[in-house]
Structures are given as structure tokens and as C-alpha cells.
């Protein structure tokens, strides 16, 4: 098999496909990943705050039923495999985007699947904050909202960035999967050419690009997290 792959005509054919189809696919993958991550953070950040501060002894106690409901919903959504979730939410996607296929449509399942994940990641970031610092703010007469805005979030920025990086790389991986139900991007190319048309080389190129993108996001995230952290500036 590998002998075939590297036969020059196959290589040339693959390179042509790379040249004609990859630019758009790369753009689509980035677009879907970034937009989905942005929405997942917009939804996940407040949920993460509620999870971390909502218990009885917390800064912003929530009615017990609400916190429990939220926890259950998040656990449920997180335990449904993404492939199945994608199919399950098709009616919702159609309702929001007007269609259930295409690049933009794939954003909806991605956000639904990843917002609970982001909520959990951010919850853990907030729980890392030293409770003594929160108590100090309380002793200064800080209101619960002031504690959230001025202590909890700013003090956990480096950790939020690290966890946000985990989220964006995971979403990138999921976005490739959405190629199966009509999402665009490198995932679609890998599946179409590699699985349906036996053009293994094209698939390999697509996968290499996906890996490189994950590495790039990870390096950028690590850099930003480190740069934002004032705890180790000495």
C-alpha cells in the first residue's frame, strides 16, 4: 500500500488537490474552531462561575435545585459522544441556522458539546484561587459580584488561558469530526478523500495540517498563559 502512495502520479494528484481545496478548507476549519470556541466561552464562562461559586458556602449561593440541575445537564451533555450529539441536535441546528448541513451549521453542535466542557474547565480554574484571597476581599467589604469581577476572574486569567487552550484544541478535533455530517474544513477533506475515495495521501496531508494547527494553538496558548501570569516574574 505504501508503495502506491508514493508513486509520483498519486503524489502529483494529491498535491493538486491540496493546492485547489486546502486553502478554503483551512479557512473553514479555523472559522468553525474560532467561532465555536468564542461561543463556548461566552456560555461556559458564566456557567463556570456559577458552578464554582454557587454552593451553599460559596460566594454567590444559588438555589440548590438550580445548581443541581445545571450540574446534571452538564454531566449529561458531556457524556453523550460527540458523533451522536451532532445527530441529535440536528433539529436545533436547523432552527438556529436554517439548515443542518454546511460549515456554519456545524458550529451549533460544536458549541452545545463544548460549552459544558468549557464550564467545567473554567470551574476548575476558579477553584484554584486561594480562598484566603477571597476572604481578604470579603473582609474589605467586597460584594459577591465585585469578588467575581475583581478577584476570581482576574486572578485566574493564566489558568483560564491554559484551559481555554485545551478547549480550542479539543474543539478543533471535534470540528474535523463534523465533516461526517456535512461540516466543512480539513476534516471533511480527510474523510471524503481518505475514506470514500481511497486517496490516502490527501488524508495524510489533511491530518498533518490538523496536527500542526493543534500545535500552533497550544504554543500560542502556553505563551499567552505564561506571559499573563505575574506570579513567576522574578
Amino acid at each position: 500500500m505504501f508503495q502506491d502512495i508514493f508513486q509520483s502520479e498519486k503524489l502529483i494528484e494529491a498535491l493538486v488537490i491540496v493546492k485547489t481545496e486546502f486553502p478554503l478548507a483551512i479557512f473553514e476549519t479555523l472559522y468553525v474552531t474560532i467561532v465555536s470556541t468564542a461561543f463556548a466561552i461566552i456560555i461556559g464562562l458564566p456557567l463556570g462561575v456559577f458552578l464554582a461559586t454557587g454552593d451553599k458556602q460559596g460566594i454567590l449561593p444559588l438555589p440548590k435545585g438550580i445548581l443541581k440541575g445545571l450540574n446534571t445537564l452538564i454531566n449529561l451533555l458531556r457524556s453523550v459522544p460527540f458523533l451522536i450529539l451532532m445527530i441529535m441536535v440536528i433539529p436545533i441546528t436547523r432552527h438556529i441556522v436554517g439548515t443542518s448541513v454546511g460549515t456554519t451549521a456545524s458550529i451549533v453542535p460544536l458549541v452545545i458539546a463544548s460549552a459544558p466542557f468549557v464550564a467545567r474547565l473554567f470551574e476548575s480554574s476558579f477553584r484554584e484561587i486561594n480562598p484566603d484571597i477571597i476572604e481578604a476581599a470579603q473582609s474589605m467589604g467586597a460584594t459577591p459580584l465585585q469578588i467575581i469581577w475583581k478577584v476570581l476572574i482576574p486572578e485566574s486569567i493564566p489558568s483560564l488561558i491554559s484551559n481555554g487552550t485545551i478547549a480550542i484544541t479539543t474543539i478543533l478535533g471535534y470540528s474535523a469530526m463534523s465533516g461526517i455530517i456535512g461540516g466543512g474544513g480539513l476534516g471533511k477533506i480527510a474523510i471524503n478523500y481518505g475514506y470514500y475515495r481511497y486517496k490516502t495521501l490527501v488524508m495524510i496531508f489533511a491530518v498533518i495540517l490538523l496536527v500542526l494547527m493543534v500545535i500552533a494553538f497550544q504554543l500560542l496558548g502556553d505563551y499567552l498563559a505564561k506571559k499573563s501570569d505575574k506570579r513567576f516574574t522574578a
Partner: protein, 236 residues
């Protein structure tokens, strides 16, 4: 004036009850440097935290200038807390903020304009002798310097009372002395009442005018420092 009247605090966990405070009564006059000394687990932190209601007493009253703080509404309590500044063993500075930003933090909380907050904070940095460190982050400061920033922060909102919970326990003897001198100056020059808890006899001996000994949740002796001569002699 701060009065504790028969303050008790019981922590109830699933299957155990801890009686951390058992009917503590104390009167702290304006201008006092009141030391509360006791062994680990005696209930010192619980006691000081009851004064600003970080911990709600199970029974008894805490009166500040005659106001029963246990009965205050949330908003009024937050206001009272701003007049009782607390200083901690581990400084509890915000690690992602510079010294200057740490000092202006309580001012931000009470809605002071950022320009005014900066001006006040710079003055306080000067007062604690760390003007050159205004842009340093806590990770770049020594323990003693961190505590000075914490003291400056505590002073920012013009408190009437400073509550010190083992404020010098993490510092070496020399630095402890410096910090205690600073506290003494603040007490004398700004007329701020100081309540400090400690397990170090030296601290009490050095700066307090009144002392109470807390043992297993109860005050076993209290009064002017002079009454404690025998204790100090035993120690030294």
C-alpha cells in the same frame, strides 16, 4: 469601642461539633492595641473573624460603637467591614496586581475614582516605605515587604480598627520588629485601634497595652499588659 458579649461559636460537621468559642466577653477601647494570645486551635482566628462577621457567632453579640453587627443587613455589614481592616498571616495580596494596584483595590471596591485611588495609594506606599516598589508584583517582594503592602492596603479606606491575624508569624524576628514598629506608629499617629492575635509572647510584650489569654475557646485572663508580667518572665 468594640464589645464582645458572651460570644460563642460552634462548628457543626456531619458527626462532630467543635466548640471553638465558649462565651467570650471582651471590651476593646478606642486607641487600644489589644493582644489576644493563645495556643494553636484555641479559637483566636475564629474570634477575630467574628468581629467582622466573616464568621457568624452561634450566640452572643458583637457591638461596634454600640451597633450590633450581627443584626445588620448585608449592605450595612459591607460598610462596617470597610472600617475594620484585616491583616493576615499570609498577606493575601492579589497576585496578578502590582503593589500599587493592591493598595487601590479596597478603594475601587468602595467606588473611589481611579485617579483618587492612585493618589492615595502612592501616599500609603510612601508611608510604609515602599514607594520604589509600586510596580512590583507580590511574587517579587519579600515577606516583610508583602506585609507592608498589606498594611498599606488595610489603611486605604481609613479604617477605625485594624484586625491582625498572626500578622507577623510568617516573618523573621527582625522583620517582625519592623512591622510591629510600623503598627505602633499607625496606632499612635492615626489613632487606629488595633486588635491582634498571636501565639508569640514577644509580640504582645512589644506593642500591646492590653492582653487577653484565650484557651480552648474561653478567656482565662485579661487586663492591662502590666498584669501579665509573670507570664513574660516565665517565657524569657
Amino acid at each position: 469601642m468594640i464589645e464582645l458579649k458572651n460570644v460563642s461559636k460552634t462548628f457543626s460537621q456531619a458527626n462532630a461539633k467543635t466548640h471553638a468559642l465558649k462565651g467570650v466577653s471582651l471590651t476593646i477601647e478606642k486607641g487600644d492595641i489589644y493582644g489576644i494570645i493563645g495556643m494553636s486551635g484555641a479559637g483566636k482566628s475564629t474570634l477575630i473573624r467574628c468581629i467582622n462577621m466573616l464568621e457568624r457567632p452561634t450566640s452572643g453579640q458583637v457591638l461596634i460603637d454600640g451597633i450590633d453587627v450581627g443584626t445588620l443587613k448585608a449592605k450595612e455589614l459591607l460598610k462596617i467591614r470597610r472600617s475594620l481592616a484585616m491583616i493576615f498571616q499570609n498577606f493575601n495580596l492579589l497576585e496578578q496586581r502590582t503593589s500599587l494596584e493592591n493598595i487601590s483595590f479596597p478603594l475601587e471596591l468602595s467606588g473611589v475614582s481611579s485617579k483618587e485611588a492612585k493618589k492615595v495609594s502612592l501616599e500609603l506606599l510612601e508611608l510604609v516605605g515602599l514607594a520604589s516598589k509600586k510596580n512590583a508584583y507580590p511574587s517579587q517582594l519579600s515577606g516583610g515587604q508583602k506585609q507592608r503592602i498589606a498594611i498599606a492596603r488595610a489603611l486605604a479606606t481609613n479604617p477605625k480598627v485594624l484586625l491582625l491575624d498572626e500578622a507577623t508569624s510568617a516573618l523573621d524576628p527582625k522583620t517582625t520588629e519592623n512591622i510591629l514598629d510600623l503598627i505602633k506608629d499607625i496606632n499612635k499617629n492615626l489613632g487606629i485601634t488595633v486588635i491582634l492575635i498571636t501565639h508569640q509572647m514577644e509580640v504582645v510584650e512589644n506593642i500591646c497595652n492590653k492582653v487577653a489569654i484565650l484557651d480552648d475557646g474561653a478567656i482565662v485572663k485579661r487586663g492591662k499588659k502590666e498584669c501579665f508580667k509573670t507570664y513574660f518572665n516565665l517565657k524569657n
